[in-house]
């Protein structure tokens, strides 16, 4: 499992997610790609019960969370059911390239049982 990819500024150490050629904090252009460790805290979360397209609708809905990663950036993720604001989570990138947040520690249980 890999963490979400971020960009990091080598001048001021600021980190962010959306692709940019210059640091949003200091404007420097010495930017490197950096993989997040995946640890973070839920900033907000919703369960979508009416999808923007009918083919995306799922029984019981699907979760979307905004997670503040420990490196600083806030990113949008799939959310495991039942996540709450303020909860510690682990974010990993799934096969389709999109990140998913699960309660911190539960990813280890999954690995153990699998």
């Amino acid at each position: 499992m890999s963490g979400p990819m971020l960009q990091s500024c080598r001048t001021c150490r600021h980190g962010w997610q959306f692709q940019r050629a210059a640091c949003p904090a200091c404007g420097a252009q010495d930017i490197v790609a950096a993989e997040s460790g995946g640890g973070g805290t839920v900033w907000s979360v919703t369960t979508v019960l009416r999808a923007p397209l009918p083919e995306l609708d799922m029984p019981g809905g699907y979760g979307i969370a905004l997670v503040t990663l420990d490196e600083g950036p806030r990113i949008m993720c799939r959310s495991a059911p039942g996540l709450a604001i303020g909860e510690r989570v682990q974010v990993a990138v799934e096969a389709d390239g999109m990140p998913r947040a699960v309660p911190a520690g539960s990813e280890l249980e999954d690995a153990g049982s699998g």
């Binding site: 959306f18 907000s44 369960t47 923007p52 905004l66 806030r74 990113i75 303020g86």
Partner: protein, 378 residues
């Protein structure tokens, strides 16, 4: 100096068979008549985009349709803030001496001109194409994320938010042009179909057909002079992923600039026209702009503060939530109602004296903010 000299809004709801150009034409001609201006007097035009007629040059499309000879014409596009930003831009064109009468117009057949799924898909596209849209995010989902955070931070409840939907419906009942007028209760809002938690169907504004127009002029043209006294904008982010931690930051920056340029304060306002795409949009604006205490917008609405006879009447036409929301015309309808009230021409909806008003809209997900102070000077 800039004045809001002409106003017009169509009924919102269904206008089958009429496209954006015809709807905007109707509103524009009515606004010209309201201002008492011949079309030759108009030398600037800012037209809103229309999702049912995506065009690169809506400004000149409308100039041609209305047979205007302009010194400035273009299409403005900042989502829900388009009407507010266009009015501010019209003021800047006048202040620069480039134009004397600028027509701001928006309208489309968002309800009958496309399928509901197409409408929702286009709207969801304001999200990030790589990092947000593929997660199945929708406009209600983006606002739901903000709403959940707002409830968490303030301790307000979903029932508090529902009060704002109830208030908008009550106000709409007094306006013959409103789309939704059936009385609504908090219990009905809470029991409505869940869309994206914590938002239910009745926390969301409808999709509508309709149009509205406002003429901004270098001098007043009618008996009542409604001056655009102060203006402010803020554009803090596009995507909710990069929204500032302070949910109200953009609104506060825009409003502070508007009040400073007007030489006024929030406490001076006697009437409000605030964007209300979702109940949390309205709650957050009321609270961060200083019109209600944090978490208490719903309670204040319940106690009558924002009613017609309250201390600070709000969206007396019913807002987006109940008058309706056909895109760019949605917020222009707020402005039309505020000006009508300030003129003392709102009939049975008329508030007691309202010499100062504040109007504010956001586009995207609290992304672009535009707000202005209106002052009656004659």
């Amino acid at each position: 100096m800039a004045y809001l000299s002409g106003i017009a809004v169509t009924a919102f709801g269904k206008h089958p068979g009429r496209g954006p150009v015809a709807l905007m034409e109707e509103a524009a001609l009515a606004a010209l008549a309201d201002a008492g201006l011949p079309r030759q007097a108009v030398d600037g035009l800012i037209a809103g985009y229309a999702t049912t007629y995506p065009h690169l040059m809506m400004g000149t499309v409308m100039a041609e349709r209305l047979s205007l000879r302009l010194r400035h014409a273009h299409q403005a596009q900042v989502g829900g803030a388009t009407g507010a930003a266009a009015i501010i831009l019209a003021r800047h064109l006048i202040a620069a001496g480039a134009c004397r009468h600028v027509l701001v117009v928006g309208g489309e057949n968002r309800l009958t001109g496309q399928s509901r799924d197409d409408a929702l898909k286009i709207l969801a596209g304001v999200g990030h194409p790589v990092h947000e849209v593929p997660l199945g995010a929708s406009i209600p989902a983006y606002y739901a994320l903000v709403a959940a955070r707002y409830l968490h931070e303030t301790g307000a409840s979903e029932a508090d938010l529902a009060e704002l939907a109830v208030l908008m419906r009550r106000h709409a009942a007094a306006h013959p042009g409103a789309q939704l007028t059936k009385p609504l209760t908090v219990a009905e809002v809470l029991a409505s179909k869940p869309i994206a938690t914590p938002l239910k169907f009745l926390d969301c504004c409808p999709i509508s057909d309709g149009a509205a127009a406002v003429i901004v002029s270098a001098e007043p043209t009618g008996a009542a002079a409604i001056r655009l006294a102060g203006w402010g904008e803020a554009h803090t982010h596009q995507h909710v992923s990069e929204m500032p931690d302070d949910l109200g930051l953009g609104a506060k920056i825009a409003a502070a600039q508007a009040f400073a340029t007007a030489g006024r304060q929030a406490e001076d306002m006697r009437l409000l026209g605030l964007y209300d795409s979702f109940t949390p949009t309205l709650a957050i604006f009321l609270e961060v702009l200083g019109f209600a205490k944090p978490g208490e917008a719903g309670a204040a609405a319940r106690e009558g503060r924002f009613s017609r006879d309250g201390a600070l009447p709000l969206n007396l036409h019913g807002g987006l939530m109940s008058y309706g929301h056909p895109g760019v015309a949605g917020f222009l309808a707020h402005v039309v109602e505020v000006v009508r009230q300030m003129r003392g021409a709102a009939g049975q909806r008329q508030v007691r004296d309202a010499p100062l008003a504040y109007c504010h809209a956001d586009g995207g997900v609290f992304s672009s903010h535009a707000g202005f102070v209106l002052e009656r000077v004659a």
